[in-house]
Amino acid sequence: MKTKILIFLGCLMAAPMQAQTSRAELLAHPDLAAGNYCNYPNPTGHVTPAPDGYEPFYVSHYGRHGARYMTDDKAYKYTIGKMDTAQTRGWLTSYGQEVLVRLKKAAGNAYHRAGDLTQLGGRQHRAIAHRLVRNYPELLMQPIHVKANSSTVRRCMLSMVNFCQELKTMNPQIDVMMDASEHDMYYIIPNDSIAIPKSETDGPLYEKLDSFRHEKLNGRHQIALLFNEPQAVSGWIDGYKFANSLWNIAADMYCLPELRLSFNDLFTEDEFIDGFRVYNASWCLWEGLMPGSQHNYYAIYPLLKNFLDEADLMIASGEKGVRLRFGHDSVVLPFSFILGVKEAIGGTDDMENLHNTFSIFRLIPMAGNVQLIFFRKQGSDDILVKFLMNENETSVPIKTDCYPFYHWKDVSAYYRNMLKEADVKYKTIIEKEEDDDDD
């Protein structure tokens, strides 16, 4: 117990104050309110020099795919379907008619592109790779080997190749091996064979979230703007579904700047931020980051193990290299929570105020990523590691005397112990089949 308190105090002293998100910040940067659709925010650019004599020799990276189209066309189908019918019946305001044209333009562009990486998404990954080389040229400009695995989803694969292509452009000597196979999915995506311990308080939290979502995205304002007789359409249009669809469309436009389309005019600033708060709370609960929720992040433990095992192998080999993994927000978020990075641990069930301590735009914007940079010193066994959340140096709840660097022996022991205590159990074949049927 004493040790735990000491570790806790050590962290408090070492780590800077937890990032707070205020309404003012969101008002000043409405793009951040797009939540997990938000364009990758540029990192601060601050790179703390490693302690004397320490050189980077290994990068272990997990990144979400870059900006993408919506993963299906339901939002377009619902809004355009309802508004098209309304137009033929003369129920649309002239503003509504103009919005319908705009929606059709966006939907036309998205045709047969559900879930695809956008051009911006490719650029985001190139930029991240570019900065990696620029920040650690001692490592990245050498003829090193890069091993990259991606989720089997195309946008992740294309993110991977954009990243690697930039590395190759900057240093043609590197040797890159890319793959995307079912074979590696057990650690690249949430492992659905892992049995998640049940939580009795999970259900009530979902009920609470449901009310929160329906209250914040009620659609009354949008319906009043777009339809002549809001009363007449009220039973015909599901206000929540309508507003939710429009919010998602509006948020996804941040992934497609070349279209020069925006739907933010359908929301007041507060309403758009409300949409953000809805998804902020949803993600916090979905991944098990909200106190009392089911620990869904258990499905990410194989990734943690992969990070630890491969780092140990690299250290033991004495070699240098870069390890890249490309996947999804549903991994980056719980993974950063497991690691305990300061941006991910502020979850609370106070959904109204959650954004003050926990904001998904700091964690899972498009192309969101976690990087561990490893350093060693000639003639010493000591290995240092630095944690980057979206390329910004961050803290983890482990004692250190050289923040933002941590001693790998402490880091490794801490997470190995975490894995031991989690005592991950795998579902039996029958349990897995039953779960798959439920999906």
């Binding site: 045709y111 047969h112 195309r154 190749v161 190759k168 043609p172 196979s181 079912e182 074979h183």
Partner: protein
């Protein structure tokens, strides 16, 4: 140069091209001996990319320089697209072992199957390491063969089928180009949005021709006749009669053929099962697969023209070339797809290797042999040349990086063709 000299030169050129043409027709024929000499050819579309035979390409006519390459490639070496063949073979041999009727040879085969299956587990249809290398090497050779084009700071567009092995083939190809020339600006994509310009359209159903049923019966007879498992069963089992109670020899033979042939695409495993069969057996089975591919693509005179499914892709290639010529900016277009796309495209483009089919199914392998057209990483490259001060655009075709010809189109400078003549041909056919 005097007029006489010119005439002599023309006659000589003509004579040479006729000889060339005849030579190439002879070369296009496939013999049993040829297959026996390179037994993995019997893998047909499993055949691992052999690399180009032709080391030195024909120089372009004076003053002509390459300014555009349109490349259409199949993914590289891959794992079997599903592991059912492993499951079938292992199950049956394992059961035989339980009954104590597995021969020493059978035991050896079972052990190798287990190694192969462990490696292939959850890798169904994946690009293998060899497949990645094949694409790097093709890109490397493309750079070496056309440095005057590829060393420029080009903008390159690459598109792939949405299937992972094609995407990874594209990635490997483009990485190699980037390594050769870091100035290249390569855009890659794989989207349903572009499917029609990359992959054949299976929703097109050409009307069945009167001959197709007879052809199918002939093919089936070759295929089934080739799957005679008597010798194989006797080599694997000590009690064939007992084995036949729970093993279909024919199905086991089919499964082992697929596994044995695909192992050439995973050479790092260093296991071979090809010696489970005699060369004669492999040759016979290959004939069945070869005929099947040709009929399913429409390459036999009188059979259903399934190659029409690839027409949209041909149109896209032609109109993209027109755009590039009009715009005048040097570039490269890369498309990555499947065997079922390269084969019909080779026919539609008029390549001699795909146009020599005869209405003679039992001997069809002599005329078209698909291991020459669609091995793993198969590709067709159209290289466009132009000359300053001239509107004339010349095109050269490379099939699997060897120069080839379009017998239906006349030319005065083979293996180069005038684009205007090719366009007329593609519009009519």
């Amino acid at each position: 140069m005097t007029t006489i000299n010119k005439t002599v030169k023309c006659v000589l050129c003509l004579a040479l091209s006729i000889i060339n043409c005849q030579l190439s027709i002879i070369q296009a024929q496939t013999s049993k001996k040829e297959i026996f000499n390179d037994i993995y050819r019997t893998g047909s579309n499993y055949f691992a990319y052999p690399g180009p035979k032709q080391q030195k390409l024909t120089k372009a006519p004076e003053g002509y320089n390459p300014f555009y390459i349109s490349h259409y490639g199949r993914h590289g070496s891959r794992y079997m697209s599903n592991n059912e063949y492993y499951v079938t073979a292992i199950n049956k041999l394992d059961s035989a072992a339980q009954f104590g009727i597995l021969s020493a040879k059978g035991q050896e085969v079972l052990e190798k199957l287990r190694i192969g299956y462990a490696d292939a587990w959850h890798r169904d249809g994946d690009l293998s390491k060899l497949g990645a290398r094949q694409h790097q090497e093709i890109a490397h050779r493309m750079y070496e063969r056309f440095p005057e084009l590829l060393s420029q700071p080009l903008k390159i567009d690459a598109k792939s089928s949405t299937v992972r092995r094609c995407m990874l083939s594209m990635f490997n190809f483009c990485q190699e180009l980037q390594e050769q020339n870091p100035q290249l600006e390569i855009t890659m994509d794989a989207s349903k949005h572009d499917f029609r310009w990359v992959v054949e359209d299976l929703t097109i159903k050409p009307a069945e021709t009167p001959a197709s049923e007879t052809y199918e019966q002939q093919r089936s007879a070759i295929f089934e006749g080739a799957h005679n498992p008597t010798r194989l069963m006797a080599s694997l089992f000590t009690d064939v009669r007992k084995a036949e109670e729970f093993i279909s020899g024919r199905d086991l033979m089919e499964a082992l053929y697929n596994v044995a042939e695909d192992l050439q695409n995973v050479p790092e495993l260093d296991i071979e099962l090809i010696d489970v069969f005699t060369k004669e057996e492999l040759f016979n089975m290959w004939q069945g697969y070869n005929a099947g591919w040709l009929l399913n693509t429409g390459l036999v005179p009188g059979c259903t023209p399934y190659y029409e499914q690839q027409r949209e892709v041909l149109d896209s290639i032609v109109s993209k070339a027109d755009q590039v010529i009009l715009k005048g900016e040097p570039t490269v277009d890369l498309r990555f797809s499947h065997d079922s796309s390269v084969l019909p495209l080779s026919y539609l483009l008029g390549l001699k290797e795909a146009r020599s089919g005869k209405a003679d199914i039992p001997n069809i392998y002599k005329y078209i042999s698909i291991d020459k057209i669609i091995p793993m990483a198969a590709n067709i490259q159209m290289v466009f040349y132009r000359k300053e001060g001239s509107d004339d655009v010349l095109v050269k075709f490379l099939l699997n990086e060897n120069e080839t010809t379009i017998p239906a189109v006349k030319t005065d400078c083979a293996p180069y063709y005038h684009w205007r003549d090719l366009r007329a041909f593609y519009r009519q056919n």
